[in-house]
Every structure is written in structure tokens, then in C-alpha cells.
């Protein structure tokens, strides 16, 4: 009884931490998708490069973890700006070109990481050491810090979108690009902003993942797939949907393996997504 409770609590903590990471990736994906109309398949690689940047800053330059995460977020935001201006804007509107460019970016970033850092695993310092005790069960503290960071960033993004002029302009662009243009909102100003925010969030997610688990050049694939699952379940372009779906998916990933094993864990969300796409493609929380 004691052990099973401990398993479940650990699973829930793990799941919520994973959910937080997935949300950070999915928020960026959905922002980029709804404002720029781009399926950013290289988003997982941005996450991976962001994590490696934190690794480099902490291990080689000895910068403390939290400052390194902030620097990495800023740097990946800038890279997002360059990517938007350099390769995504010129092929905007052509679906296949956008996908191809994103795939090419995946190849480039991943092979860079393999060549630069090698295939073996790296680690970043822990977010927090020690553990908290619930009902007599110890749960590692870093999971809670990860959740807190993810929650804080989601709230910050929400406030930015709701409270500021730029945030409102982003909403307008996502809802009706033509109308937004008529109201004097410049899409060439809003798109890079979406890309910057998306890449910065992905970098934060990657850094947190790197400090809880390991860094590998292929670490970006899983969050990309999870991010796609989340934006489908939550409805494309829906931020609150992404958050709810992210928590749901994280909990599934945390709890299902305890009872059913890894195979069901990886197949179940995919099957749910396929069913949702077939029955209600706008997602459970999407409009229209």
C-alpha cells in the first residue's frame, strides 16, 4: 500500500513536471501556428539547442543555472527573430515550402548538435536538490520547481497577451490577419514577436528538461510530437486549450507507464489525437 501510494505520487509529480515542459513547447508551437500559419517542425530542435546552450554556459563558463536559462531564452529568441526574417517569411503562405524549410532546419540544428557535442548524454546542474515530503512520501523538489517555472511563464504569456497592446495585436492577427492589417497592425512586426516568444519558451523548456533528465541531440523529437498532440487536443491557436491539454498529457505520461507499461503510454495519446482529428479537427477547446 505504502509503495503504491509512493509510486502514484511520484508519477503525478513526474507527470506534472513533464506536462509543464510540454506546455512550454506547445505554447510556442501554437503561437507560431496561429499567427504565422507555420507548422514549425524544427521547434523541438530549438528546445534542444536551448538546452545545450545552458549546458555550455553552466559547464564551461560557470554561470549559475537560472541566469544561464535566462541567457539561453534571450539567445534563442534572437535566433527565432533571424529565422523568421531569413527563411520563414520569404516562403510564407506556401505550405510545402514552410514544411521543407522547417525540416531542413531540423537537419541542420541536429547535425550541428551531434557534431559539436557528440551523441553521448550530458547533464546540467539540478534546478533544486532534495525532496519534499507528502503523506510520508518523498518527491524530488526539482519537479516542483519545473512546474512553478512553467506555470509562471504561462501566466506571464497570458498577461502579456491580455494586458498589453502588442499582445492584443497578436490576438487580432491570429483571429483575422486581414482585419488586423486594416486596423494598422503590421504582421511583419507581430510575426517575429511570435517567433521570438515561441523560441524563448522552447529554450526554457529544453533547459528545464536538461536539468531534470539528460541532454541528447535527439531530445527534441519527443516534445515536438507531444507539442503537436497538445495543440491538436487543445485546438490549434487556443492557449488555454494548450495548457489544459498539456497537464492532461503530462499526467497521462506520468501515470500510465506505472500501470500499463511504456507502449500504451506512447500509443494512447497518438490514438486520441487521430480520433480527435477525425471527429473534431478543431480540437476540444478550439472555436469554429
Amino acid at each position: 500500500m505504502e509503495t503504491s501510494l509512493s509510486f502514484v505520487l511520484q508519477a503525478i509529480a513526474n507527470g506534472l513536471a513533464m506536462g509543464g515542459l510540454y506546455i512550454l513547447v506547445a505554447l510556442g508551437l501554437t503561437l507560431i501556428l496561429s499567427i504565422m500559419g507555420i507548422l514549425q517542425l524544427a521547434h523541438g530542435e530549438i528546445y534542444m539547442i536551448g538546452a545545450y546552450l545552458v549546458y555550455y554556459l553552466t559547464s564551461s563558463l560557470g554561470i549559475s543555472l537560472y541566469i544561464a536559462i535566462l541567457i539561453s531564452m534571450g539567445a534563442m529568441g534572437l535566433i527565432g527573430l533571424v529565422l523568421e526574417r531569413g527563411i520563414f517569411r520569404p516562403c510564407k503562405g506556401d505550405f510545402l515550402s514552410v514544411i521543407t524549410v522547417a525540416i531542413a532546419l531540423t537537419l541542420i540544428l541536429r547535425s550541428y548538435a551531434v557534431a559539436q557535442f557528440g551523441l553521448f548524454e550530458r547533464t546540467v546542474p539540478k534546478l533544486a536538490s532534495g525532496s519534499l515530503v507528502f503523506f510520508g512520501v518523498a518527491v524530488p523538489k526539482d519537479r516542483f520547481v519545473a512546474m512553478l517555472i512553467a506555470a509562471a511563464m504561462s501566466v506571464a504569456l497570458y498577461l502579456f497577451l491580455k494586458m498589453t497592446r502588442y499582445g492584443q495585436a497578436m490576438f487580432a492577427c491570429a483571429q483575422n490577419p486581414e482585419g488586423a492589417r486594416l486596423r494598422g497592425i503590421n504582421p511583419d512586426l507581430i510575426s517575429p514577436m511570435a517567433m521570438m516568444i515561441g523560441c524563448a519558451l522552447a529554450a526554457a523548456g529544453g533547459a528545464i528538461a536538461g536539468s531534470i533528465w539528460m541532454l541528447t541531440p535527439t531530445m527534441g523529437t519527443l516534445p515536438l510530437v507531444k507539442g503537436l498532440i497538445i495543440i491538436v487536443i487543445g485546438g490549434m491557436g487556443s492557449l488555454s486549450g494548450a495548457i489544459v491539454a498539456g497537464i492532461f498529457l503530462g499526467l497521462m505520461d506520468g501515470i500510465i507507464p506505472v500501470f500499463f507499461g511504456p507502449v500504451v503510454t506512447s500509443i494512447a495519446p497518438l490514438v486520441i489525437v487521430v480520433l480527435i482529428l477525425l471527429v473534431k479537427p478543431q480540437g476540444l477547446f478550439g472555436h469554429g
Binding site: L39, L96, T100, V274
Partner: protein
Amino acid sequence: MDSKRLLSIFGVLLLIVFSFAIAPFLGNPYWSSVLIMIVINILLTSSLRTIFILDEVSLGQVGFTLIGAYVSALVVMELGLSFWAGLILGGVASAFIAMAVGYPFMKLKGIYFSILTLMTTEILRLIAYSWKPVTGGQYGLTGIPSPNPLTLPGIGEINFSSMNNYYYLALTIVLVCLFIMYIIEKSHLSRKWIAIKDADNLALSVGINVMKYKVLNFTIACFFAGLAGGLFAHYQGLLSAGATGRFGVMTTLNLVIYMVIGGKSKFSGPIIGTIAIMLLMEFARPLDNLRPMLVGAVAIIFVLLLPEGIAGLPVRLKSIGKKYVSGVLR
């Protein structure tokens, strides 16, 4: 039949003869194996482009090639059928599943269709990866026999266990498939697909059964993807469905790159693109881990500067030449 058309038929025949003659000329099993993979990937990329005629990007061809591969391997190993029966059954199984899911799948468009097909591929891969009694689970399927020897009148018995001979076999099968695909491309079917792509409501209003033709498109494309899987299975002799293997996401992504670099709107595009990029990967061996970076850079350059791909190069050069000539004349 004008002279231009004759010339192009002659050119294609010359290329076919060349592709048969190249293998003994290179004369080592390594290059034969590279050629075999090129030929298989050409078929797979062409099946991707068949769906792209509808302006949809399928990220699921690898999933259907997986079905073809496992079915053709299993019927040969478990039921003792011949290679040819296995190959056809693999294609048919893949086509059948495509037809079964086709109606709901083809209702989706754009991003939704791409995500759907990507997720479907992953589901199929994970099933193959974990269905231990049938697919061998994560250890995979081993000991898939190479095709039984074929006796041809006048030539004698051909044994396909050598790389070189398997290349001839794969090349012949793929050429036949490409010929069929080319006929389809020139037939009323592809006219209807283009009409659906351009304006599906208009197509519907002039009496084209839009869903029927879209499902047919998906089924045909997945049939050829299944055949490519069968060819792969009997060439490799073993199948495994790991995330980084043949049936992983990266293969799907590479197929898109081949198609775009070759030229997405021409029949020859996937053929040219697959050959060009796979040869580039071979000749860039000294770059080692940086080779995907090279391919990615080439892809970005093509998308930004030459979106019609290598197959669009002659037209582009002609228009540049014309501009230059008219500039000189003025």
C-alpha cells in the same frame, strides 16, 4: 509524334540503359546497395508526390511502407509464399488499409492532414515495435529470405542473393511502377485530381465524386509505398521498427526534402531529387556527422531561390537566357 517527343523518349530509354549498365561498371556490393536504396526511395518519394498532386503533404508514407515491408516479409516467412506474391500482397495490404482509413483521412486538409498522417505513421511504427509475437517487437524480424531464383528462357537461372542482381530486380520493378504512375499522371484520373486541388467545390459541381477520387489517390499512392516496403524487406533481410531506424520520423522528413529539391510539380522531380541528394550524401562522406546539415542547407537554398527544384532548372535557365538575349538585342 513530333521530334521533341521522340527525343525525350530516346533520352529516357538511354537513362534506363545507363541505370542497368552502371551496376557492373561500379562493380562492388557497396555501390550496389546504395543504388538499391536509391531505387526504393525513388518509388517512395514518387508515392509522396502522387498525394501532393492533391496539394496535400503526407508525412505518413513511411507508415504504409512499413505495412508493406512487414506483410511481405511475414507471408513469405510464415506462409511460405514466393517473393512475388509477398511483394504484391504487401502492396495490396498497404493499399487496403489506406482505402479503409481513406474516407475520414482525406476529409482533412493542409496542416491537419499532415499531422494526422505523421501520427498514424508513429502509431504503426509503435505497433510494429511492440507486437512481439508477430513482428518480433524491438528485436525485429530476422531471416527474411531473398527472392527465389528466377528462370528466364534463354538466360537461365538468376539468383537474387547477390547485391548486383537484387539491384536489377528492384530497378525493373520500380521502373514498371514508375511507368504505371506515369500513365496515371497522363490519364483522366490526374486531371480530376488537379481539378479537385484547384477547386474542390467546383469539381464537385461538375460531377466529379471528390471523395472517391481523393481516396483512390491515397490508395494508389499507398500501394506503391507498400511495394517499396516489400522491396526493402527482402533486400535487408531484417526489419526493425526503432525510432531512429528506417521507419522513424527522419525517413519521412527526408522524403519531403527529396521531392522538393527534385521538383514537386514534375513527374521527374522525385526521381531527380532522390538520386541527387542520396548521391550527395554518399560523396560527402568525409563530412561525416555534418552531412545532414549540408542537405538542409541545400534544401533551404532551393526553397528560397529555386522553388521548382532541379526539374525546374531548364525552364528557369531558358527564361534567364531569354532575358539576357533580349537585353543584348535592345
